[in-house]
Amino acid sequence: MSAASMRIALVGNPNCGKTALFNQLTGGRQKVANYAGVTVERKEGRFIAPSGRTLHVLDLPGAYSFDATSPDEAITRDVCHGRYPGEAAPDLIVCVADATNLRLHLRFVLEVRRLGRPVVLALNMMDAARRRGMVIDVEGLSRRLGVPVVETIAIKRGGAQALIERIDAAIPEIVPTAVDNAGIEQLHAEVRSILAETVTLPRDTAAIDDAIDRWALHPVFGLLILATLMFFIFQAVFSWAQPVMDGIQAGITGLGAWVTGFLPGDSALHSLLNDGVFAGLGAVLVFLPQILILFLFILVLEESGYLPRAAFLLDKMMFRVGLTGRAFIPLLSSFACAIPGIMATRSIQDPRDRLTTILVAPLMTCSARLPVYTLLIAAFIPDRAVWGVFNLQGVVLFALYFAGIFSALGVAFVMKRLRKDKSEHALIMELPSYRLPNVRDIALGLWERALIFLKRVGGIILALTVLLWFLSTFPGAPEGATQPAIDYSIAGRLGRMLEYIFAPIGFNWQICVALVPGLAAREVAVAALGTVYAMSGSDDAVASQLGPLISHQWSLATALSLLAWYVFAPQCMSTLAVIRRETNSWRNVAVAAGYLFGLAYLASFATYQIARALS
């Protein structure tokens, strides 16, 4: 080990605050949330200690034991044992323990100690411990454990000061003791004896947790609360965003008119800006408020500690269809985006449960589908109240989300039936303490989401929209042409070819053209529709007019069919790439893409034909 740098690993039980501490030390922005199994990968960061040394910090997934039962626990085990490919064991292990949960966490501390490597124990969440009236004899604890102990509050600025000073000092020696070879019963006996000597706690759990759980986990009220909460979120996404969306729309239309006003109306540049950039990007940009509202709810739920409760309530139902309650959190994250959702499945121990969850995750309605849904709903579904309180558009959106959820359950059930191996698999899931979300963290989280969305709009969506504009402009119309120019272009021809396949499900050639770039990112389909219609329209159709335009040109059956298509179709290459990476198998990618396309076509076909027959 060189004197100039040192490698430190943060190790501990799930949800003890390792990542919060990592962010505090390195200034990183890794994901922190109030449930076990947030971190599923090894993450690296560094900072300069007061002494001038560079400290490399590793954030690791939480583990209950080195006897790993899931892929994320195996990473932690391998890093700590120095068996992780291409990496030596860390110079110092900072073992993090939740001070309010020492009965559980100290056992793992003893297991880490056994490794015989230098260890510092960080007693985290000291703020919560004090609030509960706990008194911890830190010196006594340090003496009994034979390792230095420091107190930390990972979510408070400067809350890791004591830890930094301790790390920066000399590396602690480790003294082998009798418990190092003890069996599990003796290990627990040792923990009990240490606790009896060094910790006084007035009561085992926080009174507030018990009070909330009496309602939140109640067999009837619990489910009622969960259903109300979900419904409220979808209503809010639809109705709260509207005023802001109208504002953005007016702004883009105004800006577009102002910018293109300087250009001659028949120039190619005028067309590129007006039909490509403003019509295309504008169509997507207006969905920013909705996406942020959705994320606001997801972030608050994640930090509150409610999500594992929802998983508890739904476990039995999910188990019956071949999933597990643990799948709830990955599936809920998939409402934001299937990619983090699929990665979050690493905290599911059972490989079969995990695979099932991965394969159905794309059915959860990700935020990229929201622009497509909203565009079509606003254009085709009347904006009126149902049963006095609900908005019909909100109800349709809710129904689309549910169509995704129910089909996921159905697919999982079929997979359960097909699978031969029927051995038992475990739930064993910890329910954390409730926590009040920190306003600053939520605001930062939303800001990050906004940046990610804007980067997508300015990056891939802009690139594809411009590309599509070229393909729909060239080759130009021949002399004396009677049709709009786009009919003679590459895109127009491609659309007409695809139309043969998609005509039975009611898609016109414009939709077919939009679906192709929509494979790269779902929202692009909306941008592409904006461009395609702007190109084929006689007058200038800008973002704000796309909705009214399609509501004149498409039948209701076509719109419903496209909605059904988007519930199922794997219109996202990145999701397929993540499935490949996480399952390490092309076969699973083929299975996922195949069944999703199949379902999409069937659902759209049925929707279109039934809607036509009825109208």
Partner: protein, 69 residues
């Protein structure tokens, strides 16, 4: 109070995990809540921690009832 945790089959990883989590003889446990469908899963408090266990998992844990348990 936990009596013992029995393996459902040789080298049962679920029983091993339960022991790691603190289900060892003499440890007090408390049933906090039951799931809405068929009373499954169970919410068990051990120490300051609450674990959701399915009935099949909880069946591995033998308990003796005493007083408030």
């Amino acid at each position: 109070m936990v009596q013992t945790v029995t393996d459902a089959h040789p080298a049962d990883p679920i029983a091993q995990r339960l022991r790691d989590l603190g289900f060892v003889s003499g440890e007090p446990v408390r049933l906090v809540a039951r799931g809405p469908l068929g009373g499954d899963p169970l919410l068990i408090q051990i120490g300051s921690t609450r674990f959701a266990l399915r009935k099949t998992e909880a069946a591995r844990v033998d308990v003796s009832v005493d007083g408030v348990a």
